[in-house]
């Protein structure tokens, strides 16, 4: 298993204001799949993804990554883990504004200790080899998101964690981005966890996990449809 999640609970705040974002989740995620996490806004999707990406720690429970409990890591090990194993793609792209597109990707490969030629390859892969030296604000939303994907995959991580990667994009650019994600999955065999609140997008996944109020509502094996058929 890629991830084995046991009784994972995350609460925020205390007393009256206490919010249970994840409520004792048990889950197994196999490797080399595209897994969609589907749920309404506020259902706990991001919280789950953050814990799986070692961006946060749960209040209780465990999350094993290839058998190793990542909720027991100290800060330094968490940093190390993110650096090596995880590629993040955020809804709001979050490129570093001080660096060009290529430098954004290289920042990630340098941290991971990987040759910078991988950065150029990744930019090729997302179809942006023409825009290497542009700063983020000179790029469109879709292009920025593709750079963001390039940054996430250049270091060849085990898992790609995408938190609503198309949330801020229109249909056409969104499809292009999803296409890139699926292609990378096919080429490199990278596991992809894809958060969405849109069931149409979830249709491209091998497995669809539905969350409701911090609990697993449903886990469904799926026959993925081609990206070109997605509509929203």
């Amino acid at each position: 298993m890629l991830y084995t999640i046991e009784k994972l609970t995350k609460t925020y705040g205390e007393g009256e204001a206490k919010i249970t974002a994840l409520d004792g989740i048990d889950l197994e995620i196999p490797p080399n799949k595209i897994v969609a996490i589907l749920g309404a806004s506020g259902s706990g999707k991001s919280t789950l993804l953050n814990i799986l990406g070692c961006m946060d720690l749960p209040t209780a429970g465990a999350a094993l990554f290839k058998g190793e409990d990542i909720t027991r890591l100290n800060k330094k090990q968490m940093t190390e883990f993110r650096r090596k194993n995880i590629g993040f793609v955020f809804q709001s792209y979050n490129l570093l504004p001080d660096l060009t597109a290529l430098e954004n990707v290289e920042f990630s490969t340098e941290l991971a200790g990987i040759s910078s030629s991988e950065a150029r390859n990744a930019m090729d892969l997302v179809g942006l080899s023409e825009r290497l030296n542009n700063f983020p604000k000179q790029l469109s939303g879709g292009e920025q998101q593709r750079v963001s994907i390039a940054r996430a995959i250049a270091k060849k991580p085990e898992v790609l964690l995408c938190d609503e990667p198309t949330g801020a994009l229109d249909l056409n650019t969104g499809i292009k981005v999803l296409d890139v994600l699926v292609n990378i999955h096919k080429q490199n065999g990278t596991s992809v966890l894809l958060i969405t609140h849109n069931s149409n997008i979830a249709a491209i996944a091998d497995i669809v996990i539905s969350l409701r109020s911090g609990k697993i509502a449903n886990v469904q094996q799926n026959t993925p449809i081609p990206v070109s058929e997605v509509e929203w």
Binding site: T47, N50, G53, M55, D56, L57, K75, K76, M78, T79, E80, F81, R82, R83, K84, I86, F88, F90, S92, N94, L95, L96, P97, D98, L99, E103, E106, F107, S108, E110, L111, A112, R151
Partner: protein
């Protein structure tokens, strides 16, 4: 280039103005520190080297001696070498005093700056500083007492680093006083009035017969002044860089706090990509580190020049030929370390909170509600304010951290200005306190060691102006609690040439508050004093009847009557001797002419004022240096204040622009904010300046001179005016930036 370094570099551009201002502070702080410490170190080394190489006498005996006294002294085991000399003050036609001194080779050796040793009875060497001011050069002649001497050399001497004519005139104006060195043949009669001795253990040396008073090297005014000078410079050297460092720390902290809020998301992304806290710190602190390092180096390099200039200025004030620029790598090292520290400490403090958070926590935007500010709670006050003022107050206090930082920055400027200008006031105050409120004499005459019995009238009694009121006093150095100080003995009933409550003298002595603090005594306590009287040393317990504040010409006061009452069995004549006269007269001019012609040592109240003024010359140089730095600080601080205010209001101003507000209106809002901050900072700055002045006052007070901290009301006004003026000028500069605000770009980046 490494991407972390590249990110750090790119971030520089956004903060360039603030970086440059903070760096300016670093450079000036380092410059100040390195300059003054270089001078302190070098001054100390140079003086000690001078004292040893040129055999500064360990002991000086004053009295009347012959060759046999020199021989007995030389026979003592504790004495390495003893020499006798004649020292005699002569009046020049110009009114200046020439102190004619026999050249002694082996003790108090001369440093020849120019020329060669005088030969025979009609040649002399002149102290270089006096020669320069008196326009004397080699080959010129000078006439003292009808005898003509040709100058063959310009010299310095370890006993005259400072030109101290007497303890009453510790730093004499070189125009009025010149040590002149002659060969023994100049004095036709034999005998000595001073003996010099070199000794590793001065305390073991017994005074030869004929000694009236003995001074150790460390008790000489010249030596005391050297020590005081170093304390003063050292104190200055700490204060300014200290204040500057605090400000730089604040600027870095405020800037980084703002960045931490503004670039929260970026920091979260760095973290999510697996950058360690140290790498993130480097991205944000790199800009400061690089700038500060350069600034520290520039500041240190500048000291090479500034130190030379200061030494040049100082060399007009005192003569220490070995004092020259020296490179102290350690000082540069400390400065560079300090530049690191003022960057790292506030940097870590500002970013610590966000760096230790987990990335998911950082990524979630912080909820910021409209806080209720303090003035809002004071209802009746709040209601009276106009909407505009309320708005300004509210936005100003919304972020307390920034507000306090800004107020502190302005307060520091105000404080340093108050300190520097207050220093001028204090010097002036000290002068007024003495010459207007204490001294009531026009003239003092000194017979030196020629102590006369009261029965013997002044030889020039006929010449004394008819309106003159004069008092005979005994004035000399005594040793109390192992410390040499001046004692003035006056006639209790008639003495009124100083505003002194002479009634108090019937039951004891009056002592200066400086000494009272030092010896921890108060009125009613007793002190043991060692008083040289007519060649014998008397030990006497003296009761302190009062402690008074004295600033210059500090002395213990006793009355003849009291001393006599202490020794009822001794014959009364024993206590009736005098060696000085205090005189009040309207006709100083004709009388001083007579005194000049007859070679009688005197000093007018004006001479005393000039002497005091000379002591303060080095301090004035330092104060000028300080004022320049305070102004640089003011410009730097108010410029950054303008920028910080502008940056944090950018959005609002742009909104105002889009809403069609006139530029002038926006400027007014902007200026109003700065002035409110100045208003808040003023009282605090005044207080700090005043406190600083009181703190360093101690370093400037000694047995010769006590600095009283005084800040005149006008100074407060001037400080406020200077700060306001700088703020207005800086306002014009920031105004140009408001014009350039790019509305479209700005609104887009705010999303």
């Amino acid at each position: 280039m490494n991407k972390i370094a590249r990110s750090a570099f790119r971030k520089m551009r956004k903060n360039i103005a603030l970086l440059i201002t903070a760096s300016l502070l670093v450079a000036v702080g380092v410059g100040f520190f390195v300059t003054l410490f270089t001078i302190t170190y070098r001054f100390d080394e140079a003086a000690l080297e001078y004292f040893t190489e040129y055999n500064y006498a360990d002991l000086t005996f004053y009295g009347t001696f012959d060759e046999s006294a020199v021989a007995t002294l030389n026979n003592q085991d504790a004495v390495e070498l003893a020499l006798g000399r004649r020292v005699s003050d002569r009046r020049a036609a110009s009114g200046a005093t020439y102190r004619i001194i026999t050249i002694t080779s082996g003790i108090n050796d001369l440093y020849y700056l120019q020329g060669a040793a005088p030969i025979g009875a009609s040649q002399c060497a002149v102290h270089a500083n006096s020669a320069r001011v008196m326009n004397l050069s080699i080959g010129d002649t000078l006439t003292a007492d009808g005898q003509t001497l040709t100058v063959t050399a310009l010299v310095g001497s370890p006993e005259y680093i400072y030109l101290s004519k007497s303890e009453r005139s510790p730093m004499t104006n070189p125009k009025a006083f010149a040590p002149v060195y002659v060969n023994a043949e100049f004095f036709s009669d034999g005998g000595f009035n001073e003996l010099l001795a070199l000794s590793p253990n001065p305390s073991d040396v017994r005074a030869p017969s004929g000694t009236v008073f003995t001074l150790k090297q460390t008790e000489q005014i010249n030596y005391e002044l050297y020590q005081e000078q170093n304390n003063k410079t050292r104190t200055f050297a700490y204060i300014f860089p200290g204040v500057f460092a605090c400000l730089v720390i604040m600027v870095v902290y405020v800037v980084l706090r703002r960045i931490a809020v503004k670039e929260r998301m970026q920091i979260a992304v760095y973290k999510s990509l697996g950058a360690s806290p140290r790498q993130i710190l480097l991205i944000y602190l790199g800009q400061f580190l690089i700038f500060f390092l350069c600034a520290a180096l520039i500041g240190a390099l500048a000291t090479i020049l500034v130190t030379r200039i200061l030494i040049l200025i100082f060399s007009q004030i005192f003569t220490l030929p070995l004092l020259g620029y020296t490179f102290y790598p350690a000082l540069w090292g400390y400065s560079i370390i300090a530049a690191f520290v003022v960057c790292l400490i506030p940097g870590i403090c500002a970013l610590f909170g966000i760096l230790r958070k987990r990335p998911a926590e950082v990524m979630r935007p912080e909820q910021r509600g409209g806080k209720i500010i303090l003035p809002q709670r004071i209802g009746f006050l709040w209601k009276r304010l106009s909407f505009n003022s309320r708005y300004t107050l509210k936005t100003m206090l919304r972020s307390k951290g920034r507000f306090f930082a800004i107020v502190l920055g302005i307060a520091a400027t105000v404080a340093l200005l108050t300190l520097s200008l207050g220093f001028y006031n204090s010097i002036d105050y000290v002068q007024t306190a003495y010459f207007d409120n204490f001294a009531a004499y026009d003239l003092t005459l000194s017979l030196g060691f020629n102590v006369q019995p009261f029965s013997q009238e002044l030889p020039f009694i006929e010449e004394i102006p008819p309106d003159a009121e004069y008092a005979k006093v005994l004035q000399g150095r005594v040793r109390v609690n192992d410390m040499v100080c001046t004692l003035t003995v006056v006639e209790q009933e008639s003495f009124n040439q100083l505003k002194l409550d002479t009634q108090l003298l019937s039951s004891g002595i009056i002592i200066p508050s400086y000494h009272a603090r030092l010896w921890r005594v108060k009125a009613g306590d007793t002190l043991r004093a060692e008083i040289p009287l007519l060649g014998v040393t008397v030990y006497q317990d003296l009761r302190v009847s009062a402690v008074i504040d004295q600033t210059i010409a500090i002395s213990l006061f006793a009355s003849y009557e009291y001393l006599q009452a202490l020794n009822p069995t001794a014959p009364p004549e024993l206590f009736r001797f005098y060696n000085a006269v205090y005189m009040r007269t309207q006709n100083t001019e004709s009388f001083t002419e007579y005194l000049n012609q007859n070679n009688i040592t005197f000093s007018t109240a004006l001479d005393d004022q000039n002497s005091f003024s000379s002591i303060m010359d080095t301090v004035r140089v330092l104060i000028m240096f300080m004022i320049i730095c305070a102004l640089i600080l003011g410009v730097a601080v108010l410029y950054s204040v303008g920028l910080i205010n502008l940056n944090s209001r950018e959005g609002e101003y742009m909104l105002m622009q889009t809403l069609g507000y006139k530029h002038a209106k926006i400027m007014r809002t902007h200026t109003k904010e700065t002035f409110m901050q100045i208003l808040c900072a003023l009282p605090f700055g005044y207080l700090c300046g005043w406190l600083l002045l009181h703190v360093i006052r101690g370093a400037f007070s000694s047995a010769n001179f006590v600095l009283v901290a005084a800040v005149y009301p006008l100074t407060y006004v001037i400080c406020a005016a200077i700060v306001a003026a700088i703020a207005v000028i800086m306002g014009f500069i920031t105004a140009r930036r408001i014009n350039r605000l790019d509305i479209v770009e700005g609104l887009k980046s705010r999303d």
